[in-house]
Amino acid sequence: MNAVVEKRQTTNGTAARPFVAPEVNIYERDEGYVIEAEMPGVAKNGLEITLEGNTLTFVGRRIDEEMPGNVLYRESRAADYRRAFELDPVVDTQKISAEMHQGVLTLRLPKMERVKPRKIEIK
């Protein structure tokens, strides 16, 4: 089955600043795939999206993180986000788009024109 397949990371970041995998939703429509990743605390300038061959990697860094005082209680992790996926070859990598809204990264991966289902009119 063609799909967007997770690529296992061999390294877990540097000891100084570890990476965690953000939660994602991935779904497919006729026109393409959509990946949504949760990266709270990451602004647009902390995003890094790279495509190497068929592997799409996104990294989110909390650049503007500030500590408003001393920590009394902490559940959030001092980590950056990273996850990588192997893309379906039908994805038109020239047309990948990304947007960031309130800590959620949405990646749109349109399929190439020739593989989109087409309706054929009967005359």
Binding site: E28, G41, G69
Partner: protein, 156 residues
């Protein structure tokens, strides 16, 4: 010129330890994933969404930060009763995905509630909240009684 026996470049020399390291990776992976899923922030282990919260203190304020990615401002509720602060809200599906085939669904949709007792009294009428990059920040000024007092001592 020495004669070297021809060796296929793509088949590396056999190493007995290579298999051991592959095995070790597999075992690491086996232990890694279930444990991570129990301790991760927005786990569904306890049957709900528990966004992680942090509490900070400086001289005049308590500051609460909650990780609430992808919400609408109006879907977040903050209530203060005495020194008990309750955060609640609901995350709704942003896009209709009826006609879509889902491959992964790790993001939590639905309601959450977190309650915490503040370590000191705050001025309830001066509480301020903002929501940016999926992080809710609630600034709670300490009440006058709770602030540290500085007393000047004159040494003669």
């Amino acid at each position: 010129m020495a004669l070297i026996r021809f060796q296929k470049p793509e088949s590396p020399a056999w190493s007995p330890f290579r298999h051991l390291s592959v095995l070790r990776d597999e075992i690491d992976r086996l232990f890694e994933s279930p444990l991570n899923s129990l301790t991760s922030d927005s786990q569904q282990f306890l049957g709900g969404w528990l966004p992680s919260i942090d509490l900070y203190e400086d001289r005049d304020h308590l500051t609460l930060k909650a990780e609430l990615p992808g919400m609408k401002k109006e879907d977040i509720d903050i209530a203060l009763h005495g020194d008990v602060l309750t955060l609640s809200g609901e995350r709704k599906e942003e896009e209709k995905v009826e006609d879509a085939q889902s491959f992964r669904s790790e993001r939590f949709l639905g309601k959450f509630q977190r309650t915490l007792t503040l370590p000191m009294a705050v001025a309830a009428d001066k509480v301020h909240a903002s929501y940016k990059d999926g992080i809710l920040t609630v600034t709670l000024p300490k009440s006058e009684e709770a602030k540290p007092k500085q007393i000047d001592v004159k040494v003669e």
